[in-house]
Symmetry: C2
Subunit: 189 residues, 2 copies
Amino acid sequence: MARLNLPKKARQRELMERLKADPFLTDEELSDIFHVSIQTIRLDRLELGIPELRERIKNVAEGNYEKIRAIGGQEIVGELIEIELGKSGISILTPTEDMVFEKTKIVRGHYIYAQAESLAIAVIDAKVALIGVANIKYKTPIYLTDKLVAKAEVVRQRGNKYFVWVKTKVNHQEAFRGKFILVSMDDEQ
Amino acid sequence: MARLNLPKKARQRELMERLKADPFLTDEELSDIFHVSIQTIRLDRLELGIPELRERIKNVAEGNYEKIRAIGGQEIVGELIEIELGKSGISILTPTEDMVFEKTKIVRGHYIYAQAESLAIAVIDAKVALIGVANIKYKTPIYLTDKLVAKAEVVRQRGNKYFVWVKTKVNHQEAFRGKFILVSMDDEQ
DNA sequence: CTACCATTAGTATCAGGTATTAATATTAGA
DNA sequence: TCTAATATTAATACCTGATACTAATGGTAG
């Protein structure tokens, strides 16, 4: 791991990458890695406009706080604005930067899917539900600036099986539709 | 916002909730909220076993770091372990706590879907691809302890349309299959 | 009236910095 | 070769948001 004699420019490039990969590195650790003094690391950070450790951590924490809400541990992706248990429901999802492909700004499919799936689950009046089969069609691309309005409707129920249709509209145009078969798990298993 | 005279127990309950809702509150801000000294807040935190601000922020940051990697801005969900561009690919996903339903420990559908979708996209030898239609079957529930092995195969190509089958196995048993139609966006649009 | 607890005050110490000034290397150019 | 510019290191004062500890005060219940 000998990393002596790196010229300034190369060191700064490396520094950027290291911190991108691991924002939790202190100046001291960095000075060890590059075999320069802490002061040099701080000059480098100053020149590159990289904030101090605590700021970096805070940024990661704050930045991720929202995202996690969107698709993480939450049971619902999108905002549930209307629900009639066992019958229907509506949810709205406003895409954020991290949901789209960088180059095209098209919303990645699994966010659209996640909104629909979680709405389908929310609509079912049962403690736990699970997707059996989903039949999906994406009709048009959805962009960062669009707003996804998903409507779910329970079309049939047979025993612990529920058939739910979810249609997602963008600008009043249908952009996605999916048929979900949900299985209530209250009794079995 | 007068909040004087709260007895100790009530204050500590409130304190817990406040910090749960907003882990970014300093002791000073809390001492303002409850109209007690900073020392009292610190005694409370000590008794309740709540770590200091910086630790809390770090926890939020670290906790979410992994999750974001899993389904956030990354282009690939799961670990790509083999790929033959334009033909086939294999990816492995090890579920984490935040991917499952709390009560049943069953992996939420959209993670399974996301792994399959992103693998399908990765396999296509084109700069940008987009899902047209996905036909999906979930065969058995997948649990937190399972490991998802997804295999993608390009079965047909017609113009800028690619037909990709993705089969996900758990313990050598097929648990999910999906048919994706991808559209290369290099020329059109 | 006293024993106990909740609360507050004060001080020393810490990590991981900022900001500034100054002293040395090192290297490139004339 | 000497000089000027650039890079690096050192030293110091200060900041925030704490920990850890000791000690003083205030109320209240028995």
